[in-house]
Amino acid sequence: MIPRFLLGLFLALVMVFTGTSTYLFISSRQSRIAVAPLKPTAVAPTPHAFVLPGTLYLEQSGALYSLIAGRFHQLTPEEGWTQPSLFPDMKDMLAVKRSGFYSNVFVLNRFGHALGALTNNAAGKYSYDTGDNHWAFYPRLSLNEATVFLSYDSPKFGYEVDLSIWQMPYNGSIRQGRIWTDINDATGYTGGDVEPIPVPSGILFTKYVRQPDGSIFSQLWFTNSAGSYGRPLTGANEACADPSMSPDFHYVAMVCSYTKQLAYLVIAPWYGSSLGPRSVIISNQFVAQPIWAPDSSGIAFLAPTAPDGPFQLWFLPSQAYFPPAPSPVPTPTPLPGGPVAPSPSPSPAPPPPVIKPIQLTTDLGFDASSPLAWAP
């Protein structure tokens, strides 16, 4: 027999415990889709994890980070910094600082310290027209480091605000700049031309082109002189963007959507002013911003952890798209003064191992509209 008082006390405790546990259990069954990404610096490097060569620069939440030997370092505060690109000599870098109504191009050293601004795109102090501000995106330095190529929203025609590729002197201002890509009525109101990549023979860039049915798709284009119209390198149906040139200028990596909600990683040989046949090397992920490793060991890119979510950092080793040549079949060598040595019995070559992308981060959230930069 159990005293009623003790039983009541026991039941009260049981009910509090069970009710609370039930509540906590159900709440623990929530999906993780709305969990905010961690800061890269909050993630400790995992022992024996795959480590990328050199230093990779990325952006998350308006801050630039470097990834060296598996560890992230925050270079700038979360103040709208994005789109880092290294100088050809790798000493410094260009980056965009984005404010509410405008963005400017800055020179930063590789530790994230701002050395100066190259543009001044804020409207005048007494301007009340938001259209007096300007955007500058995707800055790239020419190979001789004398010229900056960038996407700049000028000229504007009323509501038409399209980005054009501009060239400006590194030691000058945008007023001394020249427009490279031609905006006219046929291609206006599309968003324009973005992502310039200087190559020895001109520039490669992404152009948004309106199709006859009114839809807009991206194409890679090439031009070799300021003010020229240029010519397309990829078809409208391929809908390619985010180009990245290999360090030896022999290949281009890009992201193609084929006009769907897809983002495949595609590479193609670069012939100086044209592209060769395309090879889809990742077709089961939502890929953005591929970049070639400076030592040609692979391609890093951003993609969500399947099926979707914030973008993480991935790496695809070069063996996945440049499989090693098969080892030569041994040939019989005649013995001096004797019979021919028997040929080894031919055995079928084993299938090459499938090389899959390596996921390097899991709980971060990199900005997939910001190209990556990678120094040796």
């Binding site: 027999m1 009910m15 605000v161 807009i216 983002a263 979510g309």
Partner: protein, 339 residues
């Protein structure tokens, strides 16, 4: 009987004690009750919000039955599809520029879902389409809601397009932002950079007539609620204006559906708390519960039809900068997908 004790005291002592069997039964009942209480306390706020948002009564309008503007459709109507239903999605500015529920529906998308074939059709109705309104007279389609609420919007679409509408879902601007944030953002290939020098600065502000500059860059990316709204709402730098925006709206709807497949029942309270007051529907709560599991079964991209009534279905020149509909083309198209 020991000295000093009496049968009465023993009986009272016995009544203060319970047998083990009764104790076990009581414990089991207590555990069951507390489990139910724990579950109720978790889901009750969501259930309250859901009850508030669903089953909205639609004020009847005389023209709710479909009487299309033209009836000589050259396309024969398709056979009735089992379980198919049609919903009118309405999206509105609901900032302080507007009083109460007298808002314009900047987005009107007719959605037909056929569970038996796992197909979805989305038809964006131009908000500037000049057509007879159920409230009387003619006007832009987005005026109907402002004049007579969701009932007028449904009745106007039903009578002009000759379709039967089973219900509506209305969401405000803030609701869309909160919904997308509550599901952790969406992954999308933005069709092109969307730049707008005069984007309305009317959310979370005391001065809803200001402008902002926006730049949503192109390509595959992860968008939070604010940037997703910018992507679907901006129309100034789109030569197709409302039609370009309609395409983007359909694209974001599909991305939301894709992301929502990862939700679990335990996510409902957070979701309800996020969008509470910014979403309402005439669909009953029980019907919503029936429909939710269907969402994950629509995976075939070829079974998702997206329709925008650009030229030649519409043309300019109507009053107040609106559009005339080419009903001879619109109605056969609508009857093909909304039999």
């Amino acid at each position: 009987v020991p000295l000093g004790s009496t049968p009465g005291r023993r009986a009272r002592a016995s009544r203060r004690r319970l047998s083990p069997i009764r104790s076990i039964v009581l414990t089991a009942v207590a555990i069951t009750l507390s489990v139910v209480a724990g579950g109720l306390s978790y889901f009750l706020p969501a259930a309250y919000t859901a009850v508030q948002a669903t089953g909205q009564v639609v004020s009847p309008f005389p023209s709710l039955s479909p009487t299309p503007l033209a009836t000589n459709s050259p396309t024969p109507p398709a056979p009735a599809q089992v379980g198919a239903f049609t919903i009118l999605l309405l999206g509105s500015d609901d900032d302080s520029k507007f009083q109460g529920d007298h808002v314009l529906t900047q987005s009107m998308i007719l959605v037909r879902i056929v569970p038996s074939t796992h197909s979805v059709t989305m038809l964006s109705i131009p908000r500037d389409l000049w057509a007879p309104l159920a409230t009387g007279g003619s006007g832009k389609m987005d005026w109907a809601y402002s004049y007579g609420g969701p009932g007028a919007a449904m009745a106007s679409v039903a009578q002009d397009f000759g379709v039967h509408i089973d219900g509506y879902i209305w969401v405000g601007l803030l609701g869309l932002i909160r919904l997308i944030d509550a599901i952790g953002g969406i992954d999308i290939v933005t069709t092109n950079p969307v730049l707008d020098d005069y984007y309305p600065l009317d959310i979370n502000t005391n001065s809803p007539y200001g402008y902002a500059r926006i730049a949503v860059l192109g390509g595959p990316q992860h968008l939070d609620g604010t940037h997703a709204l910018q992507y679907v709402r901006s129309r100034h730098n789109d030569i197709q204006s409302d039609f370009g925006r309609s395409r983007r709206q359909q694209q974001v709807l599909l991305a939301i559906r894709q992301k929502a497949k990862q939700l679990t029942a335990a996510d409902l309270p957070a979701l309800a708390a996020a969008i509470g007051g910014e979403l309402k529907t005439s669909i009953s709560l029980s019907r919503v519960a029936e429909l939710l599991p269907l969402a994950s079964s629509f995976d075939n991209p070829d079974a998702i039809h997206q329709i925008v009534l650009a030229s030649p279905y519409t043309r300019g020149g109507a009053p107040s900068g609106s559009l005339y509909g080419n009903w001879g083309l619109i109605l056969p198209l609508v009857h093909q997908y909304f039999p």
